[in-house]
Symmetry: C2
Subunit: 150 residues, 2 copies
DNA sequence: CCTTATATTAAGCTAGCCATACGATTCAAT
DNA sequence: ATTGAATCGTATGGCTAGCTTAATATAAGG
């Protein structure tokens, strides 16, 4: 299937980005729901980043996600309740808590990744491998710039 | 200033897109506020699209924006209250209303565009003209695909 | 007549943000 | 040792931008 050229789309890059994100997110949420995974896109992302960073302080995890620590709390609450993470006191700083994945999280995360990847692939099937790689590099660069307060 | 390579970012394109959009949007909102334009990003986008389409039915405007008609109502309410648009009965279909920009909207929209473009440019100053063009084409294609229900 | 379309209203949800605040802890300066 | 500032995670209430479900009156098309 080829893209339709007749639907008007924004002529402003920022509007396009915000719109694409919103629409793609809708797809991801539907896919997670359809797979009966009781987890949202944002919780999935939190879990994936926590896995990547290993035992990580909440403040650091929030920074890596580009969100406020306060906003992270509710995601962690849900993930902890679902038995996918646990919070433990940081032995090096008693103000802090470390976030660790539980054994149950690994297979779950594997499944989540598959569902999300399939949905993303379906949505972007008209893009070539090279284009996808370029797209991803651009987004990575942009995220870094935006997160590092240019 | 060059991008930092040490901040971890997501390795998933979808997460990157959603994050970039959120962060960029924050920049846009700040810029609009800083310029004391009493309008949000979404209202700006609605106004810009309404200008582009000319006298347009609400359902059609919503479709072009990729949002639900119901969601459009509150944006239009605000814009109408601000004197930037007016709604008028469609002579061809009495169920419908046409959205038209008021004379006050043109200079306002010009200012809004400037503020948004400056903010977007600042956020993406590390991208070359060619890269920006490529990025925009990718986003346009993605938006079209997502809006045309692939 | 029946079905679909249109704009609108209402309530509730998610994902973030904000301001404000708190107790506990840590760090740096004196 | 003391003090003030900063950090940390958490709680509260409220905001925005969309979505959802449900519903309504009116209009249009077959």
């Amino acid at each position: 299937m080829k893209s339709s050229a007749d639907a008007p789309v924004d002529d402003n890059l920022a509007f396009l980005l915000v719109t694409a994100a919103r629409l793609l997110r809708g797809r991801l949420e539907s896919a997670l729901q359809g797979a009966e995974l009781d987890i949202s896109t944002s919780e999935s992302r939190t879990l994936a980043m926590a896995q990547r960073l290993g035992a990580v302080r909440q403040a650091e995890l929030a920074a890596s996600l580009g969100i406020e620590p306060m906003s992270l709390v509710s995601h962690l609450d849900r993930l902890e309740k679902a038995g996918l993470i646990r919070r433990t006191a940081d032995p090096n700083d008693r103000r802090s808590k470390l976030v660790l994945l539980t054994p149950a999280a690994q297979p779950q995360l594997k499944q989540i990744r598959k569902v999300l990847d399939d949905a993303r692939r379906a949505a972007m099937h008209a893009f070539s491998t090279t284009e996808l790689a370029t797209f991803q590099v651009y987004l990575q660069r942009l995220c870094r710039d935006l997160m590092n307060d240019v």
